[in-house]
């Protein structure tokens, strides 16, 4: 098989990118999409040209490293399949394919088809964990988990964090990812103690990272290689309502805006809040000994 690829080439985050066309020949239908790109890169290297940079790790659809848009569809368009598991027989011989990285303000391009998905890590850091004592492992079955809850948690935990949901969303929203991570922990008994704090923190962090807002198009669900259902977004919304409705002995904490590297180039509302924070910081430094004194 022969393909004409139009690939986004961008040397670094600061430089402008452009599309470059390549011919790939002698592709067999059994090759995966990434193997086809390997063949292209072998060819480019032999011609002393820089290879096309793309992210990959396990190549068996479970690590969440790979992913880009093929002809405008994240992961290529075969339902429930990552791009590494997509075989070239999915396309027709002679097809022209456009390869484009995920595009979102929260996912800056690092090089060619690779984007920086640290924003997802920071959403997880905001609450996607359980503060468990790390002593000896508890006895199996010490905590009973209803089958239904275990199934829900398992479905949600299938999310590999590839970012296709953000890429496909017309609003560049990270709701499907965040809802999967929240549903995973909030469905289990072990996740209950921090449930409200987790939901509020992760949801607030999603906005801090400058993702867009969900308008229920369903594009995310359609391209998700792990078939995370839209239903989890509804569950996350319910959990947020629960967090706001419940009475808490101490107020819940929203992650600070200012830890963000991306905050300075955000839209004006954030500019304003960052400016306020900077003034506050100056204030803090002026009277720093005070907090320790007021501790008791």
């Amino acid at each position: 098989m022969t393909f004409t690829l139009k690939v986004w080439r961008q040397h670094s985050a600061d430089e402008p990118g452009r599309f470059v066309s390549y011919q790939v020949k002698n592709v067999t239908p059994d090759m995966s999409f990434l193997e086809m790109l390997d063949a292209l890169n072998e060819d480019l290297i032999s011609r002393q040209e820089p290879p096309v940079a793309f992210e990959h790790d396990c190549r068996e659809g479970i690590c969440g490293s790979c992913g880009f848009l093929i002809n405008g569809v994240a992961h290529g368009g075969q339902r429930g399949t990552t791009v590494c598991q997509l075989a070239m027989r999915f396309f027709k011989n002679g097809d022209a394919l456009t390869l484009e990285p995920w595009r979102a303000r929260a996912f800056p391009v690092i090089r060619d088809l690779i984007v920086n998905r640290s924003a997802f890590d920071r959403i997880i850091q905001a609450g996607g964990f359980i503060s468990a004592p790390t002593g000896t492992a508890p006895a199996a079955n010490a905590i009973l988990v209803p089958k239904e809850d275990a199934d829900t948690a398992f479905d949600a935990a299938a999310c590999i964090g590839c970012g296709a949901c953000v890429a496909a969303c017309p609003n560049a929203s990270a709701m499907l990812f965040t809802s999967a991570k929240i549903t995973h922990l909030n469905s289990l008994p072990q996740g209950q103690p921090q449930r409200d704090q987790r939901t509020l923190s992760m949801v607030a962090e999603m906005r801090n990272e400058l993702f867009g807002s969900c308008t229920n198009h369903g594009e995310c669900e359609a391209v998700c290689p792990k078939r995370i259902p839209l239903e989890f977004i509804g569950k996350m919304n319910r959990d947020l309502m629960r967090a706001a409705w419940h009475w808490h002995r101490e107020p819940l904490v929203i992650p600070s805006l200012v830890q963000l590297p991306s905050a300075e180039d955000s839209h004006e509302q954030f500019h304003e809040e960052v400016r306020i924070h900077e003034e506050d910081q100056a204030h803090v430094e002026a009277e720093s000994p005070e907090p320790a004194a007021t501790r008791r």
Binding site: W8, L69, N71, G72, G77, T98, E100, R103, A104, R105, S131, A168, P170, N171, A172, M175, Q194, Q197, L200, V203, A204, M206, R207, G212, S213, C214, T215, N216, H217, G218, E219, A222, P229, L230, E231, I233, G234, K235, M236, N237, R238, L240, M241, A244, W245, P251, L252, V253, I254, S256, S266, H267, H277, D280, H283, V284, E290, P291, T294, R295
Partner: protein, 251 residues
């Protein structure tokens, strides 16, 4: 997490205080999140859909003749008496609706701006696989519906535009409506606006159920069908009046 809460609570700095203000008022923190705004849009949407359906059913009384519809318009003002004075309940309902519209639009504008800012570099090639025309038209269709509501209030509620002087009589609903829709551009605008409303409801009603967490993988198809059915019924119900006047069935 525990240590995090601790360190926040012991600092008495302005920054931390600002953070705690945002969180200690649950409603404010809720509004601050994107999902909170979405939920507000959904809840106000429920109220507005209820109003639209009731309004549509009220309109159908015009087919029972001038007496029925005129009596109905008086009933809307007299209902609740003697506890409430003439027109009081109507104004309560109007206030609630106005608040809902204001919240719905404010949230929509804020969320739209966030979403537009979230993808500064557009795709060269982007193919949508799941979304519908109705879903993509939510924002601009919503703007058209707002324009229509303003026109409609000035037109058939106040009689300020679209009538010759002295042609509009307060509470003479039947005569007003038949006179108004004899002007074909007005009738056409009403029907087009109801088309926009139909699209808005087609995605909106299902979307509201999804946002509030009632949509599941199992019932998604049924909910989408129900949403579309309500939207189409609302469209047909509203459009039947200008069409009938235009066709000369009401005179």
């Amino acid at each position: 997490m525990a240590s995090n809460t601790n360190s926040i609570s012991v600092h008495s700095t302005a920054n931390v205080a600002r953070q705690r203000v945002a969180v200690s008022h649950g409603a404010l923190a809720f509004w601050h999140t994107m999902i909170g705004k979405k939920v507000i849009m959904a809840v106000t949407g429920v109220v507005l859909v209820g109003f639209v359906v009731a309004h549509m059913l009220g309109n159908l009384k015009i087919f029972s003749g001038p007496d029925e519809i005129n009596a109905y318009s008086r009933f809307l003002r007299e209902v609740g008496s003697p506890e409430l004075a003439y027109g009081q309940l109507l104004w309560i309902v109007r206030t609630v609706l106005l608040i809902c519209v204001a919240l719905h639009i404010t949230a929509a504008v804020q969320l739209s701006r966030m979403s537009w800012a979230a993808r500064p570099v557009k795709y060269d090639v982007k193919r949508n696989v799941e979304t519908t025309f109705a879903a993509r038209m939510m924002r601009w269709g919503g703007v058209l519906v707002v324009a229509f509501i303003i026109f409609h209030l000035l037109h058939l509620t106040l009689g300020a535009i679209g009538f010759r002087p002295g042609q509009f009589t307060h509470l003479a609903v039947y005569l007003n409506v038949t006179a108004a829709f004899k002007v074909w551009p007005v009738a056409l605008f009403y029907i087009v606006a109801m088309g926009a409303l139909c699209l808005h409801l087609d995605h909106g009603i299902w979307s509201m159920l999804q946002t509030l967490g009632w949509n599941t993988a199992r019932n998604e198809k049924q909910l989408k069908i129900a949403s579309r059915a309500i939207a189409v019924v609302v469209f047909l119900g509203f459009s039947s009046v200008p069409v009938s006047v235009w066709a000369g069935w009401l005179h």
